[in-house]
């Protein structure tokens, strides 16, 4: 089944604080969407809502046609297995070394024999320049290396839907280039990707479609060129 994401009339907030009000958008196979907004505008929250990590107060999120907030765990699990998620603060498992972090989703879901998993992990460690840190715990390596490891973990399961939370923030030039290359490769393979950023130039590099959010609402959607004027206006107003 081709990857598919539908956000319908999504509202979210906490008691006394509304964060999103009636957001609607959709994406499908091969789409690269970027959520562009100011720091604190709720981009990460929206990304987590879209990936089914947290659930909306009202409205619905359908991933491959399934509403995860109402699905049984076994059904939800089949959807989660199709996802890759890069957390802004990496969220690597602290008491596992980098190699085990990468192997975790493969081992848990039985995707290959132990030897096949070890080979795949080694391939990813090499691809991301982490082969010398395979036995290191996340706390023992730099933030940049942790980000690479987290991206490798997000991709090792060959996801059909990829969620990247501000991937270019604090990334060195080499890693930025790696992310751009990966984003393009994923797009050519038909992966649906949803990325957050507060930087318009990053949005241009990563997206074929931009969703500009401001004060909990979508104020403009379209190609980077179509959104540019609205983004510049928001920039002037200090909103991004």
């Amino acid at each position: 089944m081709d990857p598919n994401l539908q956000i319908q009339n999504l509202s979210f907030g906490y008691p006394g604080k509304k964060i999103f009000d009636s957001l609607t958008f959709a994406a499908e196979k091969g789409h690269s969407l970027v959520i562009l907004g100011a720091s604190g505008s709720g981009k990460t929250t929206l990304l987590k809502l879209a990936a089914g990590i947290i659930f909306p107060v009202s409205g619905q999120v359908l991933i491959n046609g399934i509403n995860l907030s109402q699905a049984a765990w076994s059904q939800a699990q089949t959807v989660y297995r199709e996802l890759g998620f890069l957390f802004q603060d990496t969220a690597l498992i602290a008491n596992m070394n980098i190699s085990d972090n990468l192997a975790l989703p493969l081992r848990y879901h039985g995707r290959g024999s132990p030897d096949e998993i070890a080979l795949r992990v080694l391939e990813f460690l090499r691809q991301f320049g982490l082969e010398n840190y395979a036995e290191s715990l996340p706390a023992q390596i730099s933030v940049g290396l942790k980000k690479r490891a987290a991206l490798a973990r997000a991709l090792i399961n060959q996801p059909r839907l990829l969620f990247l939370d501000d991937p270019l923030a604090e990334a060195d030039l080499r890693f930025q280039e790696m992310i751009i290359q990966i984003a393009r490769a994923q797009k050519s393979q038909g992966t649906l990707s949803l990325t957050t950023t507060s930087n318009f130039s990053d949005a241009v590099r990563l997206a074929d479609h931009v969703i500009l959010i401001q004060q909990g609402k979508i104020i403009k959607t379209g190609s980077p060129a179509e959104v540019e004027t609205a983004a510049l206006q928001a920039l002037k107003e200090g909103q991004i």
Partner: protein, 215 residues
Amino acid sequence: MLRQILFTGIEALPTIGTIALFLGVVVIIQSLTQLPRFGGEEYMGKILVLVILRELGPLMTAFLVIGRSGTAISTETGNMIVAHEIEALKVMGIDTRLFIVAPRILGVTTAVICLSLYFDLIALLGGFIVAKLILITSFSSFARILFTSITGTDLIISLLKALLFGNLIALVCVYQGFSVRISSTEVPQATTRAVVQTLFLVFLANSLLTLLFYL
């Protein structure tokens, strides 16, 4: 689960052993010196079984595991929430009940049962060896008194208590760890709640089991 057994069980052996030895010495010396004064020598074995096997073994083991492993479990789980590790597990399709909760319950329960038996053994035998340095009592007469006093029910109740305490410790501490929402300042608060609630529940369960089987 093996990591949990290693941390909760194997690594706790020296601490549990030392405390069991000290308590065993105190109880055995008090029994051997005080009971004959009142003509109660025939109750010596019963009192040792009552105090060490039925009560102190499971209870002291539970206290030490709460302080050592219960706090570690709630702190680790709370920190995993703050660092978004639990969210990462969820989005990888990993069931946290199987990955986080079940290994801790099985590991802690197994460790508490084994440690409780270890406590009893060290407290009774080790305590006797130390007491032997002070008192003139042969091992054979001490062992005879002890083994004629232990019943199958005593052993079963002791193990049942350890089983229940192990489950309570793991469940309450994991639950409190999962009660953390966003901030690292919530972690020590959750850990304190875990310790207080587990202590209360262990005391309550111990009293109820004693009432149920020995009244």
